[in-house]
């Protein structure tokens, strides 16, 4: 592991038995996992390159227990790592050797569904898909659909501000959550947000969503429900060049069409996916575009004709429109299988998540090609073309010494490129530990110091999920005092963990 995490506190490690006993007093029964095998199950999330067995795992049943755990940990100076389903791709739930792993999986009930006001109140351990499953009979759904939606929890979605293929039209988690109940490190249970929109006062809810478990622990989430569109229609279009596909995307948007989903795959990704699921993707193209339209049948048909005309104008060599639901699902099957499909080319893949201005796509892909040669690792690209969110999949073999490190270095180079062309380090997977040390590529010391001061307003002792998001975590008292001038760090000797 090349990642440096905060130095474990020896006194905390020495007090493990006492900490376990204290947690058992708060959460009776099997809610405290102390044995090594049990703890090992929590050693990583979906970013499996990094592993750490936690000090102890605690799985509370109630928000009162969550509050009691946090207060006890605060008083004892023990670090806490919150965890939902452990599907983070950025290591947001990577445990700490001296930290309590606080799992929210037992808080898994849907508390209320209000069809009139179209909201659901759920506990954080409820899975993303379970919300839709609970309301779909009545013609509703929860819009954000990260690809891990069958497993990922809504609490984790709130922590990461998760997206999905439909977020160009329907937004990220932050645009679909109305309120949370937050337990602070002081054990206070606070309701933030509500069913009333823009009520005045600071939008603390907007700050909590996407804060990656560094500000508090969410114990309840109020989400918006939407009416399920009547129909959805997908178009599958092959282009001889990435430029042609990119120009088609720009013209679709310029025509005033915001598709429900708009996905692009490059040649390696197309070939991989087709070999894996055989859904009839064209193999003689450099870019494949899937455009999904949803709404009334009449709208889908009308706009599909316009999209097809735009695609033809921009040199689409193949063009198919789904005739029924089965065919629509088939069009998506290859895209959805793109990640596991890379298993045919290499045993491991490393999924990146930068966003770029869409117009820079051809240039970014060309430069990535050259990097692929330099690093000696293949890369396949899937791209949320509507919003510029790029997922390069770097293919490597962890059993070959040095390949993981090269994959990491390649990934970092890609993300630096994203920032260089005016984009960002992460579009939907979060910073976590993965992009933590790249944050200075995008933010100055001043910018990061300002974000850290927000952290300090919630968690002055830096006990919640330390080692994530911030490359250097300054002590709060220092941040309050110190002015950073012209990018000069006041204490260059302060350890970067």
């Amino acid at each position: 592991m090349t990642l440096k995490m905060p130095e474990p506190k020896p006194d905390i490690l020495a007090r493990r038995a006492e900490i376990v006993a204290a947690l058992r007093a708060i959460v009776p029964g099997e809610g405290v996992i102390d044995d090594l095998d049990g703890r090992r199950a929590y050693e990583s999330d979906a970013l499996t390159a990094y592993r750490q067995i936690p000090l102890v795992v605690v799985l509370p049943d109630t928000k009162e227990q969550v509050a009691a755990i946090l207060v006890w940990c605060r008083d004892a100076g023990v670090r806490v790592v919150p965890r939902g389903s452990g599907t983070s791709l950025s290591g947001g739930a990577l445990p700490l050797e001296d930290g309590v792993l606080l799992g929210l999986s037992k808080l898994n009930r849907i508390l209320e569904i209000d069809y009139d006001d179209r909201v659901a109140i759920v506990q954080p351990g409820v899975t993303n898909l379970a919300i839709t499953r609970a309301v779909e009979d009545r013609g509703f759904y929860y819009a954000p659909d990260p690809s891990s939606q069958i497993a990922c929890s809504i609490g984790g979605n709130v922590a990461e501000n998760s997206g999905g293929v439909h977020c160009l039209k329907y937004g990220l988690t932050t645009n679909n959550v109305l309120a949370v109940e937050l337990v602070t490190i002081d054990g206070e249970i606070v309701r933030i947000g509500g069913r009333a929109l823009d009520p005045g006062g600071l939008d603390l809810l907007g700050l909590i969503v996407g804060s990656e478990g560094l500000l508090g622990v969410v114990t309840e989430v109020t989400v918006r429900l939407l009416a399920t569109p009547e129909t959805a229609k997908a178009l599958l279009m092959g282009f001889a060049t990435v430029q042609g596909a990119g120009q088609a995307v720009a013209e679709i948007i310029a025509a005033g069409i915001i598709p429900a989903g708009m996905e692009m795959m490059d040649r390696p990704a197309i070939h991989c996916a087709e070999a894996f699921v055989r859904v009839g993707y064209p193999l003689d193209v450099d870019a494949l575009l899937i455009v999904e339209l949803d709404g009334p049948e009449a709208e889908c048909t009308y706009l599909a004709d316009e999209v097809a005309a735009i695609a033809r104008r921009n040199g689409a060599t193949t063009l198919r429109a789904s005739r029924d639901e089965q065919e629509r699902v088939a069009f998506w099957a290859g895209r959805k299988a793109a990640f596991p499909a890379t298993g045919q080319l290499a045993p491991d893949y490393y999924c990146m998540d930068g966003t770029i201005p869409r117009r820079r796509l051809p240039e970014v892909l060309q430069r990535m090609d050259r990097m692929s040669d330099d690093f000696g690792l293949k890369v396949a690209n899937v791209f949320h073309a509507g919003d510029g969110n790029l997922h390069p999949l770097i293919l490597y073999d962890a059993n070959i010494p040095g390949q993981l490190e090269r994959a990491e270095a390649f990934g970092s180079a890609i993300l630096r490129l994203c920032v260089e062309v005016g984009g960002v380090l992460t579009g939907e997977h979060g910073v976590g530990v993965e992009k933590r040390d790249l944050m200075p590529e995008m933010f100055s010391e001043n910018d990061l110091a300002q974000q850290q001061r927000v952290k300090c307003a919630f968690d002055p002792d830096l006990l919640l999920n330390p080692g994530k998001v911030f490359p250097t975590l300054h002590r709060c008292a220092e941040l309050g005092r110190v002015h950073v001038h012209r990018g000069q760090v006041p204490h260059p000797d302060l350890p970067r963990f």
């Binding site: 006001d117 069913r195 005045g200 603390l204 048909t301 960002v424 944050m439």
Partner: protein, 374 residues
């Protein structure tokens, strides 16, 4: 009290640093269209932000616009309209509410005040459309939040907390907003004669259908004219036609659905029927609470956002805020009234907010007394 006009970020940073060191207060102002909201404690110097104006970058295909905050809203709207785009949160202009001309509002002002129009429940508010910003904090330091692309989760989502912060965290010097295509066509519809309770049911029924409205509002009975429950459909013509059928079916139990002209949305934007009211409240509610709320207060009002927003003319703070409180709503005082602007927060939340404000503005130089709770 004096007025400062910093010309660039450096001068603004120096002004703020000096104020922090000297314990002075600063009130940020651009168009001044909302200057009458809140107490006028008179303890702050005014920072005239008008030098921070102009378009920085606009790329219609990327759906992104970067602009300086003191740019007039009218100029921004004209620019994007030329490319058949719009600000999705439909900001309105507070000028006419205060008897001033419209057109003085700035893009920074509507973002800082979190102003959103009739499409708010359907397309999101100012918070949902602010992607990134540059600003000077209360420490006098330049910093950025968010970015200039539509999808980003890198670091804390500071744009969310800057939108609607009323100049109490930092002085914006540049902002990036998401823009959306203007819907190709718009049709509006009304059902007449419903009481508030039935109107809520009708609006809830429609919003739970696939009619996919971008407006649902209620204008109560006045001067003998019956009440109107109004809906807006936008999009391509074949889509509107199909959804009109869905809308009519959803409203079948409530009476005839007639197509009307779109003036009603202008009424919701200018609040013309409430113009004579010395006191104006903006009450944000769970839509479900709407009928119970308006029935408690015998005052003129208008409802938007499917019942989630009530503009109330007149009424003392105690009964208005009491009724809102009881129904999980919040009443913000916009005009007159002699009460604090914001609905009081529960103590725990107020403390948390205070700590967050100090994280941006440790010396409290942006705490001008304008929004004090007393």
């Amino acid at each position: 009290m004096c007025v400062h006009r910093p010309n660039d970020e450096q001068a603004l940073g120096a002004l703020i640093s000096d104020a922090a060191a000297a314990g002075r207060k600063l009130e940020l102002r651009a168009g001044g269209s909302k200057a009458q909201i809140g107490w006028r404690a008179g303890i702050a110097d005014i920072v005239d932000m008008s030098a921070f104006a102009g378009i920085v970058d606009y790329d219609p295909a990327e759906l992104v616009l970067t602009v300086r905050p003191a740019t007039p809203l009218a100029e921004v709207e004209a620019l994007v309209a030329a490319d058949r785009q719009m600000l999705g949160f439909e900001p309105f202009d507070h000028g006419p509410i205060f008897g001033a001309q419209s057109g003085h509002a700035t893009i920074g002002g509507v973002i800082a005040a979190g102003v959103a129009g009739s499409a708010r429940p359907f397309r999101g508010g100012a918070r949902d459309h602010l992607l990134g910003f540059r600003a000077i904090s209360g420490r006098g330091e330049a910093f950025v939040g968010g970015a200039e692309v539509v999808k980003n989760v890198t670091g804390y989502d500071l744009p969310k907390i800057i939108a609607g912060s009323w100049g109490r965290l930092a002085a914006l010097t540049e902002l990036t907003v998401k823009v959306l295509p203007v819907p190709r066509e718009t049709s509006s519809f009304a059902v007449v004669g419903l009481d508030p309770g039935r109107a809520y049911r009708a609006m809830a029924r429609v919003q739970g259908s696939t009619a996919d409205v971008s407006g649902a509002a209620f204008i109560p009975m006045q001067a003998g004219a019956p009440s109107r429950t109004v809906f807006r459909l936008q999009g391509a013509r074949p889509s509107i036609d199909a959804r009109t059928e869905t809308l009519r079916a959803a409203l079948a139990d409530f009476g005839a659905t007639d197509e009307i002209d779109g003036d009603v949305w202008e009424t919701m934007r200018t609040l013309a029927p409430l113009r004579e009211q010395a006191v104006l409240w903006r009450v944000s509610l769970p839509p479900k609470s709407f009928a119970a709320f308006v029935e408690r207060l015998d005052r003129p009002w208008l409802a938007d956002w499917g019942g989630g927003l009530v503009w109330l003319g007149g009424g003392d703070a105690e009964p208005v805020r009491g009724a809102a409180e009881l129904l999980d709503g919040k009443a913000m005082l916009i005009r007159g009234g002699g009460a604090p602007t914001f609905h009081p927060q529960p103590a725990m939340l107020a403390r948390l907010e205070e700590r967050v404000r100090r994280a941006f503005d440790p010396a409290g130089i942006f705490e001008t007394g304008r929004f004090d709770a007393h």
